[in-house]
């Protein structure tokens, strides 16, 4: 566990050479990677979402690709397509050209701008870790991680992810504005003549796969497990919530708590881990009722109330 903590501390230290602040965001993205899940990122433009995920890919020596969601984006633009290739002998044959999905970390920027058909192609890769083109199925290289982003403003002309699809994302990470001091540091870093050096590789691909296996071995006490389940089931039959979370959320909260404990260098899950991770686990899986919206509550407020009841 000491070595795990040292690795994660080294990782975050290296990323913070280019990304100022956003500690929670980087932590949660790393939790998602360790849980072999996918994340939904929501934040205003210019908050270093792409930079953070790109930096993470660099320090983990993973292949990174970016897909910009537009209304005219086709599924083949994501998965790849067969192209005609002419050999030197003049023979023509089809060759499969891999799409940007064939990477370890894929950033689907503004996924809500893509059409539902394109979204489904991405979701298939997310779920099955494979891509089907025609009659051929291609396995994706592990570890595979999709970070989909959504812009909370400019909702015109978008295709919001249906709740059933949003449920497949392990976490929904909120990116907030940096603090004043952090912004001052950003300005100093990026408006000066000093160029930011390249990032060192801290974690290898094999190490990440080992860590993913290690996460599942982290023990959790039965009463804490019950508390986690109480939080998830508390979203059902609640006056503030119209539709509650599914059992996928229960699996997610336990797994993510284990990963969170591992990142913090602990060899057991604490109740604080569960309470911290409950927010990103549940906020995209619940729909507030009219009563909650009338009170001006957010999903985080509803989750906070449920956590208080579960104590």
């Amino acid at each position: 566990m000491k070595s795990c903590k040292e690795i994660t501390e080294g990782l975050f230290k290296e990323i913070h050479r280019v990304v100022v602040g956003q500690d929670d965001v980087i932590e949660q993205i790393f939790v998602c990677i360790l849980c072999d899940g996918n994340a939904l990122l929501e934040g205003y433009p210019g908050l270093a979402k792409t930079l953070a995920i790109k930096s993470l890919a660099q320090v983990m020596d993973l292949k990174f690709s970016r897909i910009q969601g537009t209304p005219d984006l086709m599924p083949s633009d994501i998965t790849g397509t067969n192209i005609i290739e002419e050999s030197s002998a003049g023979k023509r044959n089809f060759k499969f050209q891999q799409g940007p999905i064939f990477a370890n970390i894929v950033m689907a920027d503004e996924i809500n701008r893509a059409t539902p058909k394109t979204q489904s192609a991405l979701l298939e890769a997310m779920q099955e870790k494979q891509v089907t083109v025609g009659t051929q199925t291609f396995k994706l290289d592990l570890p595979f991680f999709i970070l989909a982003t959504q812009n909370p403003i400019e909702q015109e002309g978008t295709y919001p992810l249906p709740e059933a699809q949003a449920d497949r994302f392990l976490l929904k990470i909120k990116v907030n504005y940096p603090s004043f001091n952090e912004e001052a540091e950003i300005v100093n870093m990026y408006s000066s003549a000093n160029k930011v050096q390249g990032l060192k590789v801290i974690l290898e691909k094999e190490s990440i796969l080992n860590l993913q296996g290690l996460v599942r071995q982290v023990p959790i006490a039965n009463d804490l497990k019950a508390k986690a389940l109480k939080i998830v089931t508390g979203t059902r039959n609640n006056s503030l919530i119209q539709f509650g979370a599914s059992p996928r959320a229960s699996i997610g909260i336990i797994l993510a708590s284990k990963a969170y404990a591992l990142i913090k260098g602990r060899n057991y899950v604490s109740s604080q881990d569960i309470e911290t991770i409950a927010y990103p686990i549940l906020r995209h899986r619940i729909i507030l009722s009219f009563e909650a919206e009338r009170k001006g509550m957010t999903t985080d407020d509803a989750i906070k109330e449920i956590i208080q009841k579960a104590k």
């Binding site: 566990m1 290690l214 071995q217 982290v218 023990p219 959790i220 006490a221 039965n222 009463d223 804490l224 060899n267 057991y268 899950v269 604490s270 109740s271």
Partner: protein, 278 residues
């Protein structure tokens, strides 16, 4: 991990024994207190065992249902959540769980079993036992009591049935059985079809059954009281034995056999005796 399993077993058994010892001591205090209370109200003191047994059973059940590990975690915050997680995974083995168990064993070195033993409370309970025991002895020695519950109950047990019987007797005296019977069979009597006399036999016999038999049961008991000691009174006993004592053969045993016949019988038996010797 054998060491860890042994460690958990040791914690659980030590705490369990502490709880049981504590419960036994408290039950003894309750028993002595109840005994004293029953003694001063002069009631059957053996019933004092009832509240102490009830307390012992209930408190032991409640204590054993408690999570002993959580009690340790409450005292030692650095083991909070860690100890119970490790104990629940005591039969599992993987690198993380093994490391957790090692951490717990290392940190548990600071656990002292004396932390769970409330010395002050135990001393107070022991003193209470001693004090109550002396109080009981003195109460018995000087026969001190505030209220005689036993005789009060006995009186009530006698008087209440007597009151009920008196009332029944009054009711029945007002209505004699013959009147009751005639009421029941009034119509039949008028119609000439009454045959209750035949069914119930002779009326004189039936009347015997109407007599109320008074049975009074009086409680028997004695109480040795040192208070009522007094000098022994000299008593004169009347002689009931006759002045002359003599024996007389009972008439039934007298034989009126003729002398000649007596000789015949003697000769017969002597012949039998001679033949046996041969």
């Amino acid at each position: 991990m054998k060491n860890f399993n042994n460690f958990i077993k040791e914690i659980k058994s030590t705490l369990t024994w502490y709880f049981i010892f504590n419960n036994i001591l408290t039950s003894i205090v309750i028993f002595l207190f109840s005994y004293l209370v029953l003694a001063v109200i002069s009631f059957h003191a053996i019933y004092a065992i009832v509240p102490s047994i009830i307390y012992f059973i209930v408190s032991t059940y409640v204590r054993l249902k408690e999570n002993l590990i959580k009690n340790v975690e409450k005292k030692y915050r650095m083991l909070d959540e860690k100890l119970r997680t490790a104990s629940q995974y005591s039969n599992f083995t993987n690198p993380i769980v093994d490391e957790l168990k090692l951490d717990v064993i290392r940190e548990a070195g600071t656990i002292r079993s004396s932390e769970f033993f409330h010395t002050n409370r135990t001393i107070i309970k022991i003193f209470l036992c001693v004090g109550l025991s002396f109080a009981i002895i003195f109460a018995s020695l000087f026969d001190a009591y505030f209220f005689n519950m036993r005789s009060y109950i006995d009186d009530k047990m006698v008087s209440i049935p007597n009151q009920i019987k008196d009332q029944i007797r009054q009711i029945e005296e007002k209505r004699k059985p013959a009147d009751i019977m005639s009421e029941l069979f009034n119509d039949d009597i008028k119609a000439g079809t009454a045959s209750y006399k035949d069914i119930y036999g002779k009326g004189s016999l039936a009347k015997l059954g109407d007599e109320i038999v008074n049975v009074e049961l009086q409680s028997y008991g004695y109480k040795l009281s040192l208070k009522n000691e007094q000098e022994i009174e000299s008593q004169e006993f009347n002689e009931v034995f006759p002045t002359e004592i003599y024996a007389q053969g009972a008439g039934a045993y007298k034989e009126n056999i003729a002398k000649d016949d007596q000789e015949v019988v003697k000769k017969y038996f002597s012949k039998i005796a001679r033949s046996e010797v041969k």
